[in-house]
Subunit: 166 residues, 2 copies
Amino acid sequence: MADQTPSGESLLFLTDEQLRKGIEAMFFAYRGFTADPDRILEGMDYGRAHHRAIHFIHRSPGTTVSNLLTILGVTKQSLNRVLRTLVEDGLVEARVGRRDKRERHLHLTPKGQELERELSDAQRARMRAAYRAAGPQAVAGFRQVLEAMMDPELRRQYQGLKESGA
Amino acid sequence: MADQTPSGESLLFLTDEQLRKGIEAMFFAYRGFTADPDRILEGMDYGRAHHRAIHFIHRSPGTTVSNLLTILGVTKQSLNRVLRTLVEDGLVEARVGRRDKRERHLHLTPKGQELERELSDAQRARMRAAYRAAGPQAVAGFRQVLEAMMDPELRRQYQGLKESGA
DNA sequence: TTGGAAAGTCAACAAGGCTGACGTAACTTC
DNA sequence: GAAGTTACGTCAGCCTTGTTGACTTTCCAA
């Protein structure tokens, strides 16, 4: 959809100048996007990597370590460092799999859920303000462009996650 | 603007679930956004930090070090390390200011411009594909939401940069 | 002339990526 | 039941990119 370009001038939105603005918008917006959780995390012993792990464990409770590895796109050594501290500090529980005992199924503890909520409340508040300011139609466009910007493999991850909640 | 919500159900786009999707879209899209330059840079001695410096020097030739500091939001020690290697390698030229000789005005050398073009060609290609797939209206929404998501100070940076080219 | 801004530099450190190698338990296949 | 594979953890070492703190040089401006 949205492929009809009735006249040549509709392509003005594809000029290098327009693209550069989009690139810089991504850069500055991503700074804002991570700013609130970063602020909350600093002072604690955690960083952005812990936030990501917590987010996706909350998002998909019971997910395995290797699932998380492919979603986050880091090495197991890197993820393990993060996960270990979260388990040690009692924010994440790693339950041995029932069918396959090699797997560890990850869950947030109540304490972990509390931090998750604090972080996502902050991040959602900013998203909500931005969404409200821009309006529903802009939001739809926002999501379309972002989705088109993903690597195909990541897009599948995103879409797979997108509806799996219900 | 865009605040008219004729009926309650227009606010459906502000549910926590919608916001979570937006958050994950940002996460995955940003990975795609940086993937191509990262690929080009790996193997060279440069990283994402060098790319950012090169981008903004290209964008605002003659900009000073402290301008760059506020735009990039890093410490001068961190930026200096990047800038030093770029100057040593002959990609960036730091000209002593004529009015204020304390300032260094930064320019890309032909060699620097060559790398800049390679990097931004890759990044623009992805943006262009995403823009084309989503269409002009979606692009407008995309930019609106991103702009609303920035910190006010960063938004001023962005907007200040936005038109200064012509 | 003096205060302070702009720039650069040295040193030390931390977060969070990476690779490589190795170990162990558990599942799968022959 | 032996052999191979998978999932996970861990040790060691390295890199990039961020941080703070302390210090110097230059030089504009009050």
